[in-house]
């Protein structure tokens, strides 16, 4: 059991490392490749990642909330 836990913890830390490495790589790529910010008042680097992260996170939160509120049995309309 202890070995399993250690293996899981190891794979989780590897996964986190990969995510952070890719994120840094993409933001770093912005310094070289992105000519300017998409809108004049936005930062030039990593803006697409930030907007996606915030927006998709909000959409997922909204989905979970609406799911709790509006979920019904499959035969709801048949009854």
């Amino acid at each position: 059991m202890q070995v399993d836990n250690q293996t899981q913890a190891g794979s989780k830390s590897r996964c986190n490392f990969i995510i952070w490495a890719v994120a840094l790589l993409l933001v770093g790529g912005d310094f070289i490749l992105t000519p300017h910010a998409p809108l004049h008042h936005l930062p030039q680097f990593g803006i697409y990642m930030l907007v996606t992260l915030a927006g998709v996170g909000a959409a997922l939160g909204l989905t979970l909330a609406l799911g709790q509120l509006l979920r019904r049995r499959e035969d709801y309309y048949a009854r």
């Binding site: 998409p38 992260l53 998709v56 989905t63």
Partner: protein, 585 residues
Amino acid sequence: MHANILLVPGIILSGVGLVLGLMPTWLRRACVALLPPLLLIHIWTLPHTEINILWLEHSLTLLRLSSSGMLFASVFLVALWGGGLFALQDAAPRELGAAFIYAGGAIGICLCGDWITLFCFWELMALSSTLIVWCGGQPDSKRAGLRYLLIHLAGGVFLLAGISALAVTGTSMELGPLQAEGYAYWFILAGILFNAGAPPFSFWVADAYPQASPSGMVFLSAFTTKTAVFVLLAAFAGEALLIPLGIYMALYGIVYALLEHDIRRILAYSIVNQVGFMLVAVGVGTSATLNGAHAHAAAHILYKMTLLMGAGTILRQMGTTSALKLGGELWRRMPKTTICILIGAAASMGVPFTSSFITKSVVLTGLADADLGLIWALMLVCSAAVVFNAGGRFPWLALFAPAPDSSAKDKLDSNLDPQGITLGSMVGTALLCLVFGWVPGWFYQLLPYPGAYHPYSGGHLLEQVQILAVAGTMFWLTRRYFYPQRGITLDTDWVLRVALLQGWMFFQHHLTSSYFRFTQMEVNSRMRSYMLLFSLHGPRGILARSWYTGSIALWVALILASYILMYNFSAHAPLNTLLRFLLQS
């Protein structure tokens, strides 16, 4: 001039559709395989003239070639061709006939030049698409088709009201940008928005489309909503109301697709999501966003067809599209279908070198250039969130998720890929998704407005990789929150199917009980009247008894006296005169 009617592609297709079901099998197959490509050549070789006929003092323009209409008509013909070939395996002849009429209506709208002709083709589409839903053979096909028909007929009524108002006010009936004044504009806009799946009627897409057959949903996904987008582009470009409606639709598609467990309903919600994206582009109304809406509509038809053909293949082979019953690493048994679905999914997400990458970038760049920061951010999110419906979640649930029950596993022993022409149609549409992505110049030159777009710059590629990397990682990390679950999610159709229905039943109950109470009261009062009459005139009634002669004489004298008195008081006649005479004497 009337002989030229036979040159109108919409009329040709509708005419063939009417008799397609009666043809022998070999001729029907030949029509399905050859007519769409021949018509594609036909519309690109037609001279740029109009075909007009006179009807009730109105000049109807049955054919007018515009760059926008040609683009949409061409993609519709490709969709009819691909869908028709895919349908040959198991579609009923009447479904194929209805599909040809449906496509004829859509192409007729794209190539017509006035509102009356548009309305005729519009209603033709509504009726034929309902037939396609009814041919679905699913448990709820008939009722869903009826709901679909009601919604579209309601939309048709609004459209007709608007067109009639145009005619009454003497406005030109020519199909083109409308002035935002008078109720004709708003009625026509409302009628078009019904078909676009705009709120509060976005539910009909996911309600009706998945009830069609595997091939039926391929046809349905291509025509109705995109025809509405075409008309919005032609008449309502720059209408600001479309922006909030489009944002709602884009978010609605994301939220409801995530709560859904049926893979075809996920794709239906994804259609609403992408049409919302197009509506925003139309609403902003710059040449870049309008070009983007044209391009994205065309790309969307192709990749959604690919995905729906994949979903249809799964339905044909497994007998279900519920993710609760699918899975079991189906990709091992249908590798060719899996590749096509993955290409379609990549195109839907905007992966570089696919069609949607080059079209979404036009819209997003147009929004950024117009300095619409909030709308740009929202559309960016909606574009990224496709990973959570058609792009990532759909292939994962359909092909890669583990099997929840043994019935699905039992079917995994054989190769489930379709064969021959069915596979060919799916591969063909998947290849088109790639061709447009690889050679965007071909695609961009079909767009109606001038503009130079360069999607394959290093910066743009990196932007898209950023979006996909973040969205993909979020999908993978949060996927356990969105495992398919039994149940449905209430939508705005609750108002029609429950609130209005129960309200009507409540009203009907009270109306009926009031009627019964009134009837009872009437019966009771009538009975009481009869009882009273009976008590007076019945065998023992007071008026039925025998009377003494003296008593009768007394009553007669009393009645006469009272009569004389009444007469005198009323007319001031002889008795007064007599009394006055006696007193004076």
